[in-house]
Amino acid sequence: MSRATNSFSRSAAAHAILIAYTIIALFPVFIIVINSFKSRNAIFRTPMAPPTAETFDLVGYRTVLAQGDFLQYFQNSFIVTVASLFFVLLFGAMAAFALSEYRFRGNKLMGLYLALGIMIPIRLGTVAILQLMVASGLVNTLAALILVYTAQGLPLAIFILAEFMSTVSDDLKNAGRIDGLSEYTIFFRLVLPLVRPAMATVAVFTMIPIWNDLWFPLILAPSEATKTITLGAQMFIGQYVTNWNAVLAALSLAILPVLILYLIFSRQLIRGITSGAVK
């Protein structure tokens, strides 16, 4: 007799599907990482094979670390990502709090206006943004990137956080008001800790596109001093010759920081995603 839950065939099927998906999703990453440890010949001759004693070669990493200022690129990417993330979370949460907490004329319209950015890609405005940055003298600065990414991340952040903020008990906020807490204290001390899972969700969704972006660094900050890691890796891709060892090594290295940030947020992330669904 088969039981409704816990049947072996059913869970085996579910696991098979999930494992297959994991393999497909991780395969490109896996190929990048194994090939980054191989010599140039081996990359082309046996691209699927893991590095052996013969084919093992760190030339890619040596090139990356020797040529170009990779540490600087990493630092730039890191500064841009972390600063943008900070501003997106801060301003996004504040706007979401105002939208969900206060009754004012045009509240709904304002919410809609702030959410519009989800539907309109910011890259459509590239020309205007570039003109703006030129006029304000921000070209080739990290500030230009941080401003653009903050604007890019805010709509989704506000949309998600406003939903979560409205679930925070009104009584709790009112208790704070009666105890004499300022609106800022209520926001930072009472509300933010309660929406932390949502903040982590927003952080991950915001962080990954910023870290991976090639478009805006290329247009707004292509100078040596402000290059981000994704842009830096491009210099090994030539029109005629591409130094694959170096490109793969650079990409492998670029995965690490974002992976670390993800691991920090992921515990919260799972709670954030499920708390909306099962409540």
Binding site: A175, R177, R189
Partner: protein, 332 residues
């Protein structure tokens, strides 16, 4: 030290008028209960008193000084919420201390007050715990403790027992009554449960659709309701309303409380058929479909065997019927 005056307070949310002109005077040390059906404006009125909502017009005066535009923390009030609203990241001790710290009370004084309040509410074993580690009843006691340590002029309770189970509700009700007796403080209590209202109040304010229907001591409301609404709202089971014309009376409606009707199998004023009987042990509620008076609820004390379909006669106690005019107001 804790009187409250409300003068012509109105509150509208957009086009919706929630409070349509409330006047009320509460004297020092009184326990006043706001009672009414859902959406009658009782919670909104409490929030206007607390300063969590601004009144659209009118004045709120606490202890002789006008506080209409004073922020909640400066009004000298403390509030206990239905959902407890404890700070989840703070221990019980810090939950109670937060408001005092914000007000700049010296640490020694804070400690003294917390010790006193936690003894009074038997919270000492839990002082270092967080709200998540407490049961519902304990959380509500902490919420009450948080109000007590502030030594407010006015205690505001917003349906504090609604989230507790029945047994705990009776206990906590008792504790609130004792608290009032011990502190002799002015308390305003909002509930939709008329048992809470009757048992706790010195004075009940019955609200309906944004207006005060009647203000009075519990027995006053029970014995002489001012209108149909109060008559129907106070008392359980609900008062029977009989069309005056069917009985050949001059007034629009005749009211009889279920407990003021007696039944007899052989003779009586109104002949009827038993539709249903509820046996509660201490008393029995009989639903009678009467030829002249329509559907009546009769409350008989003790056990009474009444099978559905049986014929019974109901007789109102002389002098315990109420008469209401065309406008719903009581006619003397």
């Amino acid at each position: 030290m804790g009187s409250l005056n409300i003068e012509n307070v109105k509150k509208s949310f957009g086009p919706v008028d929630v409070l349509k002109g409330i006047d009320l005077a509460v004297s020092d040390g009184e326990f006043v209960v706001f009672v009414g059906p859902s959406g009658c404006g009782k919670s909104t009125l409490l929030r206007v008193i607390a300063g969590l909502e601004d009144a659209s017009s009118g004045r709120v005066i606490i202890d002789g000084s006008e506080v209409t535009s004073t922020p909640p923390a400066k009004r000298g009030i403390a509030m206990v919420f239905q959902t407890y609203a404890l700070y989840p990241h703070l221990t019980v001790r810090n939950n109670m201390a937060l408001g005092l710290k914000q007000a700049g009370t010296p640490a020694a004084e804070i400690d003294k007050r917390i010790t006193a309040a936690s003894t009074m509410l038997s919270l000492e074993p839990y002082l270092e715990r967080r709200p998540a580690e407490l049961s519902g009843g304990q959380r509500q006691r902490v919420a009450i403790g948080r109000a007590v340590v502030r030594e407010p002029k006015l205690f505001l309770f917003d349906e504090p027992l609604s989230n507790l189970d029945a047994a705990l509700r009776v206990n906590t009700r008792l504790e609130i009554a004792q608290l009032h007796r011990r502190l002799k403080a002015t308390m305003i209590y909002v509930t939709h449960d008329q048992v809470e209202a009757m048992t706790l109040a010195d004075k009940i304010v019955v609200l309906n659709a944004g207006r005060i229907e009647q203000v009075g001591a519990p027995m006053e409301l029970y014995n002489s309701p001012a209108n149909l609404f109060v008559a129907g709202f106070i008392g359980s089971p609900k008062m029977n309303f009989i069309d005056g014309a069917r009985l050949g009376e001059s007034v629009k409606t005749i009211g009889v409380r279920p407990e003021h009707l007696s039944v007899d199998a052989k003779k009586g004023t109104w002949k009827g058929t038993v539709i249903h009987a509820e046996h509660l042990g201490a008393d029995t509620n009989i639903y009678l479909d009467c030829e002249k008076a329509g559907l009546l609820t009769v409350r008989v004390f003790g056990v009474y065997d009444a099978e559905p379909g049986a014929t019974l006669y109901a007789t109102p106690d002389p002098g315990r019927t109420y008469r209401f005019g065309e406008d719903g107001q009581a006619v003397k």
